[in-house]
Symmetry: C3
Subunit: 185 residues, 3 copies
């Protein structure tokens, strides 16, 4: 009688088990092929030192710079509640909010470190992306990492590529955020 589980089956099953094991530590994700992509614009309007432009501000420093690398405001920490829009216009209706912090952290040039939540509450998206990373401003584009998500973005991970598009003194800057998720559930 012929065996129910014949040789080709065994070979196939073996290949399968091997491929699954490899999968565990070296999955294939193609950087060019995110499962979700959004381009958004983040606007930061910093309160001035005297606090006289409250109505026109969405962020504020909560520490003074340290005495280290003073010209690059090393150690200045800013908390923000910033609007995020679908186009470059600050006055467009926000599609999300960005709430979190950044602080300047380089002695010899301007760089900052960001950690924040991108909070969506629109008909299009409800949910949050948590993002962190180094803003190396001397480079044209920088990559932050999307480390978690909730709601529509349940368990998401990915990359947010940021570009400074405008900077008006210390009052205003705009970041283009090209958000690419590679884990979608």
């Amino acid at each position: 009688m012929k065996s129910l589980v014949n040789t080709p089956f065994l070979i196939l099953f073996f290949l399968l088990v091997v491929s699954q094991s490899a999968f565990a530590s070296r999955k294939t994700i193609n950087p060019q092929n995110p499962c979700k992509r959004m381009v958004l614009y983040y606007h930061d309007l910093l309160l001035n030192a005297n606090g006289t432009d409250v109505d026109n501000s969405t962020s504020a420093a909560i520490t003074n710079p340290a005495k280290l690398g003073n010209n690059y405001v090393f150690g200045k920490l800013i908390v923000f509640d910033d609007p995020v829009t679908k186009d470059q216009n600050l006055h467009s209706p926000p599609v999300a909010k960005a709430q979190g912090l950044y602080f300047y952290d380089m002695r010899t040039d301007f760089t900052a470190w960001f950690a924040f939540s991108l909070i969506f509450n629109s008909t299009e998206h409800k949910g949050i992306l948590n993002i962190m990373g180094a803003d190396l401003m001397m480079e044209k584009t920088r990559d932050f990492t999307v480390v978690g998500g909730t709601g529509d973005f349940f368990m998401a991970r990915g990359i947010a590529t940021v570009t400074t598009e405008a900077a008006e003194g210390i009052k205003y800057f705009r970041l283009k955020m090209d958000i690419k998720l590679y884990e979608c559930y």
Copy 2:
């Protein structure tokens, strides 16, 4: 002679390869079916401005609020070393500690942003969960993201759903944390 690898095999193998590729970017995780779940209670006892209740405090502000949205203490940053219990009673033996920070970050209402480690060192669990997220207090429940883990929680990811259960002025609040891990190793 019949080919060893016949047509049905090839079809199956093809389906398999396709399904594995899809797997890479769109794995299936069911929000209703975490691989690990724990309900814990986080207790925060904030030191008062004069520092006179040290014995009864587990957290302290390290910055003053900014002059932006003053009524909602925008920019006030708190560092905590808070007990975590299995039931709602602050005086129950802690099963974990929560060490990290939160800061208030909304101009027009109370919201905060948390980043912390949940440190377990008991017979039941040894290890750490690292958690971050937006605490949108105007909503009944909010989701933080578990972005990494160590020890018993090696490489974990998931969601921590928090609910404010008690709030006594600015001195005390208790968060119920319903922690659901979806990646367990």
Copy 3:
């Protein structure tokens, strides 16, 4: 006529679907078998309170300790721009920079909480690892979590095991970082 898709096939296919579903929440990662490993040394040189040793400093406190657990500088927050080397020598050419923050967060002993980017820009590696975790200094080794990566470390996750190797008062400390990535793409 014999069915093209016979019984053994159906059994195998069923097993396959089941195993893939299980895979989603319980992948196999062996802690002993990272897909990438690097041992690096992090050097922190803290600016003194008077700011007189600027040339010899790579980090600075931006808040004062709170009045809680004063002896362990609870609430002192430090921003750093620290060199990272391949050997223990502070003066070796850096292979990466560590930019981020740590703050002390325990009332009854020294512990700190870290969040930072490890920024590689050498012929060997270009890219960033984002790291966070609790530095429980009373333990010989502590595990931070690598929560995201960019460039050569695209979408990485893993563990960074740290050991304090040297501590010269409050001016200098060195951490050995044994970085093990378990998700490589």
